[in-house]
Amino acid sequence: MITLREVKKNYQAGETIVKALRGVSLDVDQGEFLSIAGPSGSGKTTLLNLIGCIDKADSGVIKIDKEDVDKLDKNELALFRRRKLGFVFQTFNLIPVLTAKENVAFALHLLNLSKNEIEERTMSLLKEVGLEGMEDRLPSRLSGGQQQRVAIARALVKKPAIVLADEPTANLDSDTGRAILELMEEMNKKHTTTFIFSTHDQMVMEFAHRLVQLHDGQITKDERRN
Protein backbone atom coordinates (compact mmCIF):
# COMPACT_ATOMS: atom_id res chain seq x y z
CA MET A 1 0.00 0.00 0.00
CA ILE A 2 2.75 2.45 0.96
CA THR A 3 6.25 1.94 -0.35
CA LEU A 4 9.19 4.18 0.51
CA ARG A 5 12.59 3.51 -1.03
CA GLU A 6 15.75 5.35 -0.05
CA VAL A 7 13.83 8.50 0.78
CA LYS A 8 16.01 11.46 1.69
CA LYS A 9 15.02 14.88 2.87
CA ASN A 10 17.23 17.78 3.89
CA TYR A 11 16.27 21.12 5.39
CA GLN A 12 18.10 24.37 5.35
CA ALA A 13 18.23 25.82 8.85
CA GLY A 14 20.11 29.11 8.52
CA GLU A 15 23.45 28.16 7.03
CA THR A 16 23.25 24.57 8.22
CA ILE A 17 21.74 21.72 6.24
CA VAL A 18 19.73 19.40 8.47
CA LYS A 19 19.51 15.84 7.19
CA ALA A 20 16.00 15.00 8.36
CA LEU A 21 15.74 11.66 6.54
CA ARG A 22 18.79 9.74 5.39
CA GLY A 23 17.54 7.07 3.01
CA VAL A 24 14.42 5.66 4.64
CA SER A 25 12.80 2.57 3.16
CA LEU A 26 9.49 1.31 4.50
CA ASP A 27 6.51 -0.79 3.41
CA VAL A 28 3.10 -0.36 5.03
CA ASP A 29 0.16 -2.64 4.28
CA GLN A 30 -3.52 -1.86 4.16
CA GLY A 31 -5.14 -1.73 7.62
CA GLU A 32 -1.96 -1.39 9.65
CA PHE A 33 -1.96 0.52 12.93
CA LEU A 34 1.54 1.89 12.87
CA SER A 35 3.42 4.24 15.10
CA ILE A 36 6.49 6.15 14.06
CA ALA A 37 8.38 6.85 17.22
CA GLY A 38 11.54 8.65 18.07
CA PRO A 39 12.97 11.56 19.95
CA SER A 40 12.47 15.14 18.89
CA GLY A 41 14.36 15.86 15.64
CA SER A 42 14.49 12.22 14.63
CA GLY A 43 12.54 12.87 11.42
CA LYS A 44 9.16 11.35 12.31
CA THR A 45 7.10 14.41 11.37
CA THR A 46 9.07 14.74 8.13
CA LEU A 47 8.33 11.13 7.30
CA LEU A 48 4.66 11.62 8.08
CA ASN A 49 4.54 14.76 5.92
CA LEU A 50 6.08 12.91 3.00
CA ILE A 51 3.61 10.05 3.27
CA GLY A 52 0.86 12.66 3.64
CA CYS A 53 1.98 14.30 0.37
CA ILE A 54 2.27 17.70 2.00
CA ASP A 55 6.00 17.78 1.51
CA LYS A 56 8.34 16.54 -1.22
CA ALA A 57 11.33 14.27 -0.83
CA ASP A 58 14.71 15.32 -2.18
CA SER A 59 15.34 11.84 -3.54
CA GLY A 60 13.94 8.33 -3.35
CA VAL A 61 10.60 6.86 -4.28
CA ILE A 62 7.26 7.18 -2.47
CA LYS A 63 4.39 5.09 -3.79
CA ILE A 64 0.96 5.14 -2.26
CA ASP A 65 -1.65 2.82 -3.72
CA LYS A 66 0.80 2.22 -6.60
CA GLU A 67 0.82 5.95 -7.36
CA ASP A 68 4.25 7.55 -7.58
CA VAL A 69 3.31 10.66 -5.64
CA ASP A 70 6.54 12.49 -6.44
CA LYS A 71 5.41 12.72 -10.04
CA LEU A 72 2.12 14.44 -9.22
CA ASP A 73 1.78 18.19 -9.61
CA LYS A 74 0.30 20.55 -7.01
CA ASN A 75 -3.33 20.14 -8.07
CA GLU A 76 -3.05 16.39 -8.58
CA LEU A 77 -1.55 16.09 -5.10
CA ALA A 78 -4.45 18.10 -3.66
CA LEU A 79 -6.93 15.75 -5.33
CA PHE A 80 -4.92 12.73 -4.17
CA ARG A 81 -4.94 13.93 -0.56
CA ARG A 82 -8.63 14.73 -0.84
CA ARG A 83 -9.52 11.19 -1.91
CA LYS A 84 -6.96 8.96 -0.21
CA LEU A 85 -5.66 10.64 2.92
CA GLY A 86 -7.07 11.80 6.21
CA PHE A 87 -5.18 13.98 8.70
CA VAL A 88 -5.34 14.32 12.46
CA PHE A 89 -3.21 17.11 13.86
CA GLN A 90 -1.65 17.59 17.24
CA THR A 91 -3.48 20.91 17.63
CA PHE A 92 -6.75 19.56 16.15
CA ASN A 93 -6.86 22.34 13.51
CA LEU A 94 -10.61 22.56 13.31
CA ILE A 95 -12.14 25.52 11.51
CA PRO A 96 -13.27 27.73 14.40
CA VAL A 97 -16.27 29.20 12.58
CA LEU A 98 -17.77 25.80 11.77
CA THR A 99 -19.67 23.54 14.14
CA ALA A 100 -18.49 20.00 14.86
CA LYS A 101 -20.86 18.71 12.18
CA GLU A 102 -19.75 21.29 9.64
CA ASN A 103 -16.09 20.57 10.34
CA VAL A 104 -16.65 16.90 9.63
CA ALA A 105 -18.78 17.69 6.57
CA PHE A 106 -16.03 20.00 5.28
CA ALA A 107 -14.07 17.00 3.96
CA LEU A 108 -17.15 15.68 2.15
CA HIS A 109 -18.03 19.04 0.57
CA LEU A 110 -14.68 18.87 -1.15
CA LEU A 111 -15.75 15.56 -2.70
CA ASN A 112 -18.90 17.15 -4.10
CA LEU A 113 -21.22 14.60 -2.55
CA SER A 114 -24.98 15.10 -2.34
CA LYS A 115 -26.42 16.98 0.61
CA ASN A 116 -28.15 13.84 1.90
CA GLU A 117 -25.05 11.71 1.71
CA ILE A 118 -22.99 14.36 3.47
CA GLU A 119 -25.57 14.60 6.25
CA GLU A 120 -25.86 10.83 6.63
CA ARG A 121 -22.13 10.10 6.68
CA THR A 122 -21.34 13.03 8.96
CA MET A 123 -23.93 12.12 11.55
CA SER A 124 -22.97 8.46 11.45
CA LEU A 125 -19.27 9.25 12.04
CA LEU A 126 -20.03 11.74 14.82
CA LYS A 127 -22.07 9.00 16.52
CA GLU A 128 -19.21 6.54 16.11
CA VAL A 129 -16.72 8.89 17.75
CA GLY A 130 -19.15 9.55 20.59
CA LEU A 131 -20.15 13.10 19.79
CA GLU A 132 -23.85 12.54 19.23
CA GLY A 133 -25.74 15.56 20.56
CA MET A 134 -22.71 17.82 20.26
CA GLU A 135 -22.81 18.21 16.50
CA ASP A 136 -23.92 21.83 16.59
CA ARG A 137 -21.21 23.00 18.97
CA LEU A 138 -18.43 25.23 17.80
CA PRO A 139 -14.87 23.97 18.52
CA SER A 140 -14.54 26.62 21.22
CA ARG A 141 -17.30 24.87 23.13
CA LEU A 142 -15.67 21.45 22.94
CA SER A 143 -12.93 20.00 25.18
CA GLY A 144 -9.55 19.04 23.71
CA GLY A 145 -10.54 15.39 23.59
CA GLN A 146 -13.84 16.19 21.93
CA GLN A 147 -12.10 18.38 19.38
CA GLN A 148 -9.69 15.55 18.56
CA ARG A 149 -12.68 13.23 18.12
CA VAL A 150 -14.13 15.70 15.63
CA ALA A 151 -10.76 15.74 13.85
CA ILE A 152 -10.76 11.91 13.72
CA ALA A 153 -14.31 11.94 12.37
CA ARG A 154 -13.27 14.52 9.77
CA ALA A 155 -10.34 12.33 8.74
CA LEU A 156 -12.43 9.18 8.48
CA VAL A 157 -15.67 10.48 7.04
CA LYS A 158 -14.39 10.48 3.47
CA LYS A 159 -13.31 6.81 3.85
CA PRO A 160 -9.64 7.39 3.13
CA ALA A 161 -7.11 4.66 2.59
CA ILE A 162 -4.73 6.15 5.15
CA VAL A 163 -5.12 8.36 8.20
CA LEU A 164 -2.01 10.21 9.30
CA ALA A 165 -1.86 11.57 12.81
CA ASP A 166 1.00 13.75 14.00
CA GLU A 167 1.32 13.40 17.77
CA PRO A 168 -2.47 13.08 18.14
CA THR A 169 -2.39 12.87 21.90
CA ALA A 170 0.33 15.40 22.66
CA ASN A 171 -2.13 18.11 23.63
CA LEU A 172 -4.36 15.86 25.69
CA ASP A 173 -4.18 14.51 29.23
CA SER A 174 -3.26 10.85 29.54
CA ASP A 175 -6.82 9.55 30.08
CA THR A 176 -8.19 11.50 27.14
CA GLY A 177 -5.15 10.49 25.08
CA ARG A 178 -5.78 6.84 25.87
CA ALA A 179 -9.45 7.25 24.91
CA ILE A 180 -8.45 8.82 21.60
CA LEU A 181 -6.04 5.98 20.88
CA GLU A 182 -8.71 3.44 21.70
CA LEU A 183 -11.03 5.24 19.34
CA MET A 184 -8.40 5.23 16.60
CA GLU A 185 -7.76 1.54 17.14
CA GLU A 186 -11.47 0.84 17.01
CA MET A 187 -11.83 2.82 13.78
CA ASN A 188 -8.83 1.01 12.33
CA LYS A 189 -10.45 -2.33 12.99
CA LYS A 190 -13.90 -1.26 11.85
CA HIS A 191 -12.97 0.55 8.66
CA THR A 192 -9.69 -1.29 7.91
CA THR A 193 -8.15 2.12 7.39
CA THR A 194 -4.39 2.32 7.70
CA PHE A 195 -3.41 4.50 10.67
CA ILE A 196 0.06 5.96 10.88
CA PHE A 197 0.81 8.17 13.83
CA SER A 198 3.93 9.76 15.15
CA THR A 199 4.74 9.95 18.83
CA HIS A 200 7.45 10.06 21.41
CA ASP A 201 5.08 8.97 24.17
CA GLN A 202 5.65 5.46 25.55
CA MET A 203 1.96 4.92 26.22
CA VAL A 204 1.08 5.69 22.61
CA MET A 205 3.81 3.39 21.33
CA GLU A 206 2.32 0.55 23.34
CA PHE A 207 -0.94 0.92 21.44
CA ALA A 208 0.70 0.50 18.05
CA HIS A 209 0.49 -2.85 16.25
CA ARG A 210 3.69 -1.97 14.49
CA LEU A 211 6.36 0.32 15.85
CA VAL A 212 8.89 2.02 13.61
CA GLN A 213 11.71 3.70 15.54
CA LEU A 214 13.53 6.58 13.94
CA HIS A 215 16.80 8.06 15.05
CA ASP A 216 18.71 10.79 13.25
CA GLY A 217 16.63 10.30 10.12
CA GLN A 218 17.11 6.57 9.90
CA ILE A 219 14.95 3.60 10.90
CA THR A 220 16.60 1.90 13.78
CA LYS A 221 13.83 -0.54 14.67
CA ASP A 222 10.77 -1.94 12.90
CA GLU A 223 8.77 -4.15 15.23
CA ARG A 224 5.43 -5.85 14.63
CA ARG A 225 3.26 -6.75 17.60
CA ASN A 226 0.15 -8.77 18.13
Binding site: A78, R83, F89, T91, P96, V97, A107, H109, L110
Partner: protein, 418 residues
Protein backbone atom coordinates in the same frame (compact mmCIF):
# COMPACT_ATOMS: atom_id res chain seq x y z
CA UNK B 1 -19.22 27.10 -4.62
CA UNK B 2 -22.19 27.29 -2.26
CA UNK B 3 -19.99 25.76 0.43
CA UNK B 4 -17.28 28.37 -0.18
CA UNK B 5 -19.85 31.18 0.04
CA UNK B 6 -21.24 29.71 3.24
CA UNK B 7 -17.70 29.41 4.68
CA UNK B 8 -16.94 33.03 3.75
CA UNK B 9 -20.18 34.21 5.32
CA UNK B 10 -19.48 32.27 8.53
CA UNK B 11 -16.01 33.80 8.77
CA UNK B 12 -17.53 37.25 8.31
CA UNK B 13 -20.00 36.77 11.12
CA UNK B 14 -17.49 35.00 13.34
CA UNK B 15 -14.83 37.74 13.09
CA UNK B 16 -17.49 40.40 13.62
CA UNK B 17 -15.21 43.05 15.08
CA UNK B 18 -12.79 42.81 12.18
CA UNK B 19 -15.65 42.81 9.67
CA UNK B 20 -17.20 45.90 11.23
CA UNK B 21 -13.89 47.82 11.43
CA UNK B 22 -12.88 47.01 7.85
CA UNK B 23 -16.37 47.57 6.45
CA UNK B 24 -16.47 50.90 8.31
CA UNK B 25 -13.25 52.02 6.62
CA UNK B 26 -14.77 51.15 3.24
CA UNK B 27 -18.07 52.80 4.20
CA UNK B 28 -16.36 56.05 5.21
CA UNK B 29 -14.32 56.07 1.98
CA UNK B 30 -17.38 55.43 -0.18
CA UNK B 31 -19.55 57.84 1.81
CA UNK B 32 -17.00 60.65 1.45
CA UNK B 33 -16.59 59.86 -2.22
CA UNK B 34 -20.36 60.01 -2.88
CA UNK B 35 -20.77 63.19 -0.84
CA UNK B 36 -17.76 64.91 -2.40
CA UNK B 37 -18.87 64.08 -5.89
CA UNK B 38 -22.43 65.25 -5.19
CA UNK B 39 -21.05 68.44 -3.68
CA UNK B 40 -18.83 69.13 -6.69
CA UNK B 41 -21.58 68.25 -9.11
CA UNK B 42 -23.96 70.55 -7.27
CA UNK B 43 -21.42 73.37 -7.40
CA UNK B 44 -20.77 72.76 -11.09
CA UNK B 45 -24.44 72.60 -12.06
CA UNK B 46 -25.36 75.66 -9.97
CA UNK B 47 -22.34 77.52 -11.35
CA UNK B 48 -23.21 76.69 -14.93
CA UNK B 49 -26.82 77.71 -14.41
CA UNK B 50 -25.82 81.01 -12.74
CA UNK B 51 -23.28 81.64 -15.45
CA UNK B 52 -25.82 81.11 -18.23
CA UNK B 53 -28.74 82.83 -16.51
CA UNK B 54 -26.94 85.93 -15.26
CA UNK B 55 -23.65 86.30 -17.09
CA UNK B 56 -23.20 84.82 -20.54
CA UNK B 57 -26.65 83.61 -21.66
CA UNK B 58 -26.72 80.41 -23.74
CA UNK B 59 -25.50 81.96 -26.98
CA UNK B 60 -24.21 85.44 -27.70
CA UNK B 61 -24.05 87.06 -31.12
CA UNK B 62 -21.47 89.79 -31.58
CA UNK B 63 -19.20 91.32 -34.13
CA UNK B 64 -16.30 89.04 -34.98
CA UNK B 65 -13.84 91.86 -34.23
CA UNK B 66 -15.52 92.49 -30.89
CA UNK B 67 -15.04 88.78 -30.02
CA UNK B 68 -11.33 89.10 -30.71
CA UNK B 69 -10.94 92.29 -28.68
CA UNK B 70 -13.58 91.66 -26.02
CA UNK B 71 -11.09 92.05 -23.15
CA UNK B 72 -11.02 95.83 -23.72
CA UNK B 73 -14.83 96.09 -24.27
CA UNK B 74 -14.54 98.05 -27.53
CA UNK B 75 -17.59 100.19 -28.34
CA UNK B 76 -16.46 100.72 -31.91
CA UNK B 77 -16.98 97.02 -32.73
CA UNK B 78 -20.74 96.91 -32.54
CA UNK B 79 -23.71 95.32 -34.24
CA UNK B 80 -25.38 98.18 -36.08
CA UNK B 81 -28.74 96.64 -36.78
CA UNK B 82 -29.53 94.37 -33.82
CA UNK B 83 -33.25 94.17 -34.41
CA UNK B 84 -32.77 92.38 -37.76
CA UNK B 85 -30.71 89.74 -36.04
CA UNK B 86 -33.04 89.49 -33.03
CA UNK B 87 -36.00 89.04 -35.35
CA UNK B 88 -34.19 86.31 -37.24
CA UNK B 89 -33.31 84.48 -34.02
CA UNK B 90 -36.81 84.85 -32.62
CA UNK B 91 -38.14 83.28 -35.79
CA UNK B 92 -36.17 80.24 -34.66
CA UNK B 93 -38.19 80.36 -31.41
CA UNK B 94 -35.20 81.50 -29.42
CA UNK B 95 -35.69 84.50 -27.12
CA UNK B 96 -33.02 87.15 -27.73
CA UNK B 97 -32.22 90.57 -26.22
CA UNK B 98 -29.73 93.32 -27.06
CA UNK B 99 -27.12 94.58 -24.60
CA UNK B 100 -24.29 97.09 -24.53
CA UNK B 101 -21.31 96.14 -22.43
CA UNK B 102 -18.83 98.87 -21.59
CA UNK B 103 -16.18 99.69 -19.08
CA UNK B 104 -15.76 102.71 -16.86
CA UNK B 105 -15.61 103.94 -13.33
CA UNK B 106 -18.21 104.94 -10.76
CA UNK B 107 -17.43 107.96 -8.68
CA UNK B 108 -19.10 108.58 -5.33
CA UNK B 109 -18.73 111.39 -2.87
CA UNK B 110 -18.84 111.78 0.89
CA UNK B 111 -22.40 112.38 1.95
CA UNK B 112 -24.37 110.32 1.45
CA UNK B 113 -21.39 107.92 1.15
CA UNK B 114 -18.98 107.54 4.02
CA UNK B 115 -16.08 108.77 1.94
CA UNK B 116 -15.14 109.90 -1.54
CA UNK B 117 -14.07 107.19 -3.95
CA UNK B 118 -14.06 105.62 -7.36
CA UNK B 119 -14.22 102.01 -8.47
CA UNK B 120 -13.63 100.59 -11.96
CA UNK B 121 -16.60 98.47 -12.97
CA UNK B 122 -18.27 96.86 -15.95
CA UNK B 123 -21.55 98.36 -17.14
CA UNK B 124 -24.28 96.54 -18.98
CA UNK B 125 -26.98 98.48 -20.71
CA UNK B 126 -30.20 96.49 -20.86
CA UNK B 127 -33.59 96.97 -22.38
CA UNK B 128 -35.72 96.89 -19.18
CA UNK B 129 -38.83 95.93 -21.09
CA UNK B 130 -37.44 92.70 -22.54
CA UNK B 131 -34.14 91.82 -20.86
CA UNK B 132 -35.89 89.35 -18.54
CA UNK B 133 -36.77 87.19 -21.54
CA UNK B 134 -33.18 85.98 -21.32
CA UNK B 135 -31.78 87.14 -17.96
CA UNK B 136 -33.97 86.60 -14.86
CA UNK B 137 -32.35 89.59 -13.14
CA UNK B 138 -35.68 91.07 -12.12
CA UNK B 139 -36.27 88.12 -9.77
CA UNK B 140 -33.06 88.88 -7.89
CA UNK B 141 -34.13 92.42 -6.94
CA UNK B 142 -33.48 92.78 -3.23
CA UNK B 143 -34.51 96.38 -2.66
CA UNK B 144 -35.71 99.34 -4.69
CA UNK B 145 -37.17 98.86 -8.14
CA UNK B 146 -36.23 97.44 -11.48
CA UNK B 147 -34.88 99.73 -14.23
CA UNK B 148 -37.19 101.74 -16.46
CA UNK B 149 -36.40 103.09 -19.91
CA UNK B 150 -35.60 106.77 -20.06
CA UNK B 151 -34.77 107.07 -16.36
CA UNK B 152 -31.27 108.10 -15.24
CA UNK B 153 -31.10 105.17 -12.91
CA UNK B 154 -28.93 102.18 -12.37
CA UNK B 155 -29.14 98.81 -10.64
CA UNK B 156 -26.20 97.41 -8.68
CA UNK B 157 -25.31 94.15 -6.93
CA UNK B 158 -25.77 93.84 -3.18
CA UNK B 159 -22.12 93.01 -2.47
CA UNK B 160 -20.97 96.01 -4.44
CA UNK B 161 -23.52 98.21 -2.66
CA UNK B 162 -22.24 96.94 0.66
CA UNK B 163 -18.63 97.56 -0.34
CA UNK B 164 -19.16 101.22 -1.23
CA UNK B 165 -21.90 101.78 1.35
CA UNK B 166 -24.59 102.48 -1.23
CA UNK B 167 -28.34 102.32 -0.73
CA UNK B 168 -31.34 102.77 -2.99
CA UNK B 169 -31.72 106.45 -3.97
CA UNK B 170 -28.01 107.27 -3.59
CA UNK B 171 -26.41 109.16 -6.49
CA UNK B 172 -23.42 107.94 -8.49
CA UNK B 173 -21.41 109.35 -11.34
CA UNK B 174 -20.34 107.12 -14.20
CA UNK B 175 -17.15 108.06 -15.99
CA UNK B 176 -16.68 106.29 -19.32
CA UNK B 177 -15.94 106.90 -23.00
CA UNK B 178 -18.34 107.22 -25.88
CA UNK B 179 -18.29 105.02 -28.94
CA UNK B 180 -15.90 107.54 -30.52
CA UNK B 181 -13.59 107.50 -27.53
CA UNK B 182 -14.50 110.78 -25.88
CA UNK B 183 -14.85 111.02 -22.10
CA UNK B 184 -18.40 111.08 -20.87
CA UNK B 185 -19.91 111.41 -17.42
CA UNK B 186 -23.41 110.28 -16.53
CA UNK B 187 -25.07 111.20 -13.26
CA UNK B 188 -27.43 108.49 -12.13
CA UNK B 189 -29.33 107.34 -9.06
CA UNK B 190 -29.43 103.84 -7.65
CA UNK B 191 -32.94 102.53 -8.42
CA UNK B 192 -32.50 99.00 -7.21
CA UNK B 193 -30.11 96.63 -5.53
CA UNK B 194 -30.06 93.04 -6.76
CA UNK B 195 -28.81 90.00 -4.95
CA UNK B 196 -27.63 87.93 -7.85
CA UNK B 197 -26.45 84.35 -7.24
CA UNK B 198 -23.56 84.98 -9.64
CA UNK B 199 -20.72 86.70 -7.75
CA UNK B 200 -19.34 88.29 -10.92
CA UNK B 201 -22.61 90.23 -11.27
CA UNK B 202 -23.13 90.81 -7.57
CA UNK B 203 -19.63 92.16 -7.04
CA UNK B 204 -18.97 94.65 -9.79
CA UNK B 205 -21.50 94.95 -12.60
CA UNK B 206 -23.82 97.92 -12.97
CA UNK B 207 -26.98 97.83 -15.07
CA UNK B 208 -28.25 100.92 -16.86
CA UNK B 209 -31.22 101.40 -19.22
CA UNK B 210 -30.39 100.79 -22.87
CA UNK B 211 -31.81 104.12 -24.16
CA UNK B 212 -29.78 106.11 -21.62
CA UNK B 213 -26.57 104.29 -22.57
CA UNK B 214 -27.39 104.60 -26.26
CA UNK B 215 -27.82 108.31 -25.87
CA UNK B 216 -24.81 109.05 -23.66
CA UNK B 217 -22.43 106.69 -25.42
CA UNK B 218 -23.60 107.87 -28.85
CA UNK B 219 -24.20 104.32 -29.97
CA UNK B 220 -26.74 105.30 -32.66
CA UNK B 221 -28.74 102.14 -32.06
CA UNK B 222 -25.72 99.85 -32.13
CA UNK B 223 -25.22 97.20 -29.46
CA UNK B 224 -22.21 95.13 -28.48
CA UNK B 225 -24.09 91.87 -28.14
CA UNK B 226 -27.32 89.99 -28.48
CA UNK B 227 -27.95 87.32 -25.91
CA UNK B 228 -30.08 84.25 -26.36
CA UNK B 229 -31.73 81.87 -23.95
CA UNK B 230 -31.96 78.14 -24.54
CA UNK B 231 -32.97 75.37 -22.16
CA UNK B 232 -30.00 74.29 -20.00
CA UNK B 233 -29.85 70.87 -21.64
CA UNK B 234 -29.97 72.24 -25.20
CA UNK B 235 -27.19 71.52 -27.68
CA UNK B 236 -25.76 75.06 -27.75
CA UNK B 237 -22.96 74.29 -30.20
CA UNK B 238 -25.38 72.97 -32.79
CA UNK B 239 -27.73 75.93 -32.33
CA UNK B 240 -24.87 78.45 -32.55
CA UNK B 241 -23.69 76.83 -35.75
CA UNK B 242 -27.24 76.92 -37.09
CA UNK B 243 -27.53 80.64 -36.22
CA UNK B 244 -24.26 81.42 -37.99
CA UNK B 245 -25.51 79.57 -41.08
CA UNK B 246 -28.73 81.60 -41.04
CA UNK B 247 -26.74 84.84 -40.64
CA UNK B 248 -24.63 83.88 -43.61
CA UNK B 249 -27.74 83.12 -45.65
CA UNK B 250 -28.92 86.64 -44.86
CA UNK B 251 -25.61 88.04 -46.03
CA UNK B 252 -24.48 89.03 -42.52
CA UNK B 253 -20.92 87.81 -42.44
CA UNK B 254 -19.34 89.98 -39.76
CA UNK B 255 -21.17 88.40 -36.82
CA UNK B 256 -20.29 85.32 -34.78
CA UNK B 257 -22.46 83.22 -32.47
CA UNK B 258 -20.56 82.07 -29.39
CA UNK B 259 -21.85 79.60 -26.82
CA UNK B 260 -21.55 80.06 -23.08
CA UNK B 261 -18.70 77.56 -23.17
CA UNK B 262 -16.75 79.85 -25.52
CA UNK B 263 -17.56 82.85 -23.38
CA UNK B 264 -16.68 81.24 -20.05
CA UNK B 265 -13.47 79.48 -20.95
CA UNK B 266 -11.85 80.83 -17.79
CA UNK B 267 -14.55 79.24 -15.66
CA UNK B 268 -14.42 75.94 -17.54
CA UNK B 269 -10.63 75.79 -17.20
CA UNK B 270 -10.94 76.37 -13.46
CA UNK B 271 -13.75 73.80 -13.22
CA UNK B 272 -11.61 71.18 -14.98
CA UNK B 273 -8.69 71.94 -12.66
CA UNK B 274 -10.93 71.75 -9.63
CA UNK B 275 -12.36 68.45 -10.80
CA UNK B 276 -8.85 67.07 -11.36
CA UNK B 277 -7.73 68.31 -7.93
CA UNK B 278 -10.81 66.86 -6.30
CA UNK B 279 -10.34 63.56 -8.09
CA UNK B 280 -6.81 63.37 -6.69
CA UNK B 281 -8.24 64.03 -3.25
CA UNK B 282 -10.88 61.37 -3.75
CA UNK B 283 -8.21 58.98 -4.95
CA UNK B 284 -6.30 59.65 -1.73
CA UNK B 285 -9.45 58.93 0.29
CA UNK B 286 -9.80 55.65 -1.60
CA UNK B 287 -6.13 54.80 -1.12
CA UNK B 288 -6.40 55.42 2.62
CA UNK B 289 -9.48 53.19 2.79
CA UNK B 290 -7.75 50.59 0.61
CA UNK B 291 -4.63 50.60 2.83
CA UNK B 292 -6.88 50.10 5.87
CA UNK B 293 -8.69 47.22 4.22
CA UNK B 294 -5.45 45.73 2.95
CA UNK B 295 -3.90 45.86 6.41
CA UNK B 296 -6.90 44.18 8.02
CA UNK B 297 -7.09 41.53 5.31
CA UNK B 298 -3.38 40.93 5.63
CA UNK B 299 -3.72 40.40 9.38
CA UNK B 300 -6.82 38.26 8.89
CA UNK B 301 -5.12 36.00 6.41
CA UNK B 302 -1.82 35.72 8.27
CA UNK B 303 -3.51 34.87 11.55
CA UNK B 304 -5.25 32.02 9.76
CA UNK B 305 -2.23 30.56 8.00
CA UNK B 306 -2.49 27.31 9.97
CA UNK B 307 -6.16 26.98 9.07
CA UNK B 308 -5.14 27.58 5.48
CA UNK B 309 -2.50 24.84 5.76
CA UNK B 310 -5.07 22.43 7.18
CA UNK B 311 -7.45 23.18 4.31
CA UNK B 312 -4.69 22.49 1.80
CA UNK B 313 -3.70 19.28 3.61
CA UNK B 314 -7.31 18.07 3.44
CA UNK B 315 -7.18 18.48 -0.32
CA UNK B 316 -8.64 21.89 -0.92
CA UNK B 317 -7.10 23.35 -4.06
CA UNK B 318 -5.26 26.66 -3.87
CA UNK B 319 -7.79 28.15 -6.27
CA UNK B 320 -10.65 27.16 -3.94
CA UNK B 321 -8.90 28.67 -0.94
CA UNK B 322 -8.22 31.83 -2.92
CA UNK B 323 -11.90 32.04 -3.87
CA UNK B 324 -12.96 31.48 -0.24
CA UNK B 325 -10.76 34.34 1.02
CA UNK B 326 -11.66 36.63 -1.89
CA UNK B 327 -15.36 35.95 -1.27
CA UNK B 328 -14.84 36.83 2.37
CA UNK B 329 -13.16 40.10 1.41
CA UNK B 330 -15.90 40.70 -1.16
CA UNK B 331 -18.43 40.21 1.64
CA UNK B 332 -16.67 42.85 3.74
CA UNK B 333 -16.57 45.08 0.65
CA UNK B 334 -20.28 44.49 0.10
CA UNK B 335 -21.19 45.37 3.69
CA UNK B 336 -18.92 48.43 3.54
CA UNK B 337 -20.32 49.46 0.17
CA UNK B 338 -23.93 49.13 1.34
CA UNK B 339 -23.18 51.13 4.51
CA UNK B 340 -21.11 53.67 2.56
CA UNK B 341 -23.82 54.12 -0.05
CA UNK B 342 -26.46 54.64 2.64
CA UNK B 343 -24.16 56.96 4.62
CA UNK B 344 -23.15 58.94 1.53
CA UNK B 345 -26.70 59.12 0.22
CA UNK B 346 -28.02 60.36 3.55
CA UNK B 347 -25.48 63.19 3.64
CA UNK B 348 -26.21 64.01 0.01
CA UNK B 349 -29.94 64.08 0.78
CA UNK B 350 -29.36 66.23 3.86
CA UNK B 351 -27.28 68.82 2.03
CA UNK B 352 -29.44 68.73 -1.09
CA UNK B 353 -32.23 70.21 1.06
CA UNK B 354 -30.26 72.16 3.67
CA UNK B 355 -27.37 73.23 1.48
CA UNK B 356 -23.98 74.42 2.70
CA UNK B 357 -23.59 78.16 3.19
CA UNK B 358 -20.33 79.31 1.63
CA UNK B 359 -21.19 82.99 1.25
CA UNK B 360 -18.36 83.99 3.63
CA UNK B 361 -15.86 82.40 1.23
CA UNK B 362 -17.38 83.55 -2.05
CA UNK B 363 -17.80 87.14 -0.88
CA UNK B 364 -14.17 87.68 -0.02
CA UNK B 365 -12.50 85.38 -2.47
CA UNK B 366 -13.02 84.52 -6.12
CA UNK B 367 -12.91 80.73 -6.11
CA UNK B 368 -14.00 80.44 -9.72
CA UNK B 369 -17.45 79.05 -9.09
CA UNK B 370 -20.37 81.31 -9.98
CA UNK B 371 -21.94 80.87 -6.58
CA UNK B 372 -22.66 83.42 -3.90
CA UNK B 373 -24.11 81.53 -1.01
CA UNK B 374 -25.66 78.18 -0.39
CA UNK B 375 -24.40 75.20 -2.36
CA UNK B 376 -26.64 72.19 -2.76
CA UNK B 377 -25.47 68.65 -3.33
CA UNK B 378 -26.77 66.81 -6.38
CA UNK B 379 -27.44 63.08 -6.30
CA UNK B 380 -25.46 61.27 -8.98
CA UNK B 381 -26.69 57.65 -9.34
CA UNK B 382 -23.86 56.73 -11.72
CA UNK B 383 -21.23 57.62 -9.12
CA UNK B 384 -23.15 55.82 -6.37
CA UNK B 385 -23.29 52.62 -8.43
CA UNK B 386 -19.63 52.97 -9.44
CA UNK B 387 -18.51 53.58 -5.84
CA UNK B 388 -20.57 50.58 -4.71
CA UNK B 389 -19.01 48.25 -7.26
CA UNK B 390 -15.50 49.68 -6.82
CA UNK B 391 -15.78 49.14 -3.03
CA UNK B 392 -16.46 45.44 -3.53
CA UNK B 393 -13.95 44.92 -6.35
CA UNK B 394 -11.12 46.73 -4.52
CA UNK B 395 -11.72 44.66 -1.37
CA UNK B 396 -11.52 41.48 -3.43
CA UNK B 397 -8.38 42.61 -5.24
CA UNK B 398 -6.73 43.57 -1.98
CA UNK B 399 -7.44 40.13 -0.50
CA UNK B 400 -5.89 38.47 -3.52
CA UNK B 401 -2.34 39.62 -2.75
CA UNK B 402 -1.91 38.34 0.84
CA UNK B 403 -3.81 35.14 -0.01
CA UNK B 404 -1.45 34.53 -2.92
CA UNK B 405 1.52 35.14 -0.65
CA UNK B 406 0.16 32.79 2.03
CA UNK B 407 -0.50 30.13 -0.59
CA UNK B 408 3.11 30.29 -1.69
CA UNK B 409 4.12 28.96 1.73
CA UNK B 410 4.74 25.22 2.07
CA UNK B 411 1.82 23.36 3.66
CA UNK B 412 4.17 22.13 6.36
CA UNK B 413 5.22 25.72 7.15
CA UNK B 414 1.56 26.77 7.27
CA UNK B 415 0.78 23.99 9.74
CA UNK B 416 3.72 24.98 11.93
CA UNK B 417 2.69 28.63 11.92
CA UNK B 418 1.86 29.99 15.36
Amino acid sequence: MRFLISLAWKNLSRYRKRTIITASAIAVGIGIYIFFDAWLLGAELDSERNLIWYETSSIRIMDSQYWEEQERLPLDRVVENPEVVIKMVEEMNIPAVPRIRFGGEVIFYKDPYEQDGGVPVQFIAIDPERDDRVFPMKQTLESGKYLKSGKMEIMIGSWFAEDIGAEVGYPLTIVTRTRDGFFQTIDVEIAGIINCPNPMINNGTIFIPMDVANNYLQMEGGVTEMDMSLPLQADVEKTAQHIEERLEEKGINNLVAKTWKDLAQDYLAIAVQKRAGSNIMLLLVFIIAAVGVSNTMLMAIYERVRELGMMRALGMKDSQIRIAFILEAGGIGFIGSVAGTIFGSLIVYLFSTLGIDYSWIFKNMNVGYRLTGVMYTVWNPEVVITAFIVGIVISMLIAYIPTRRALKMQITDCLRNE
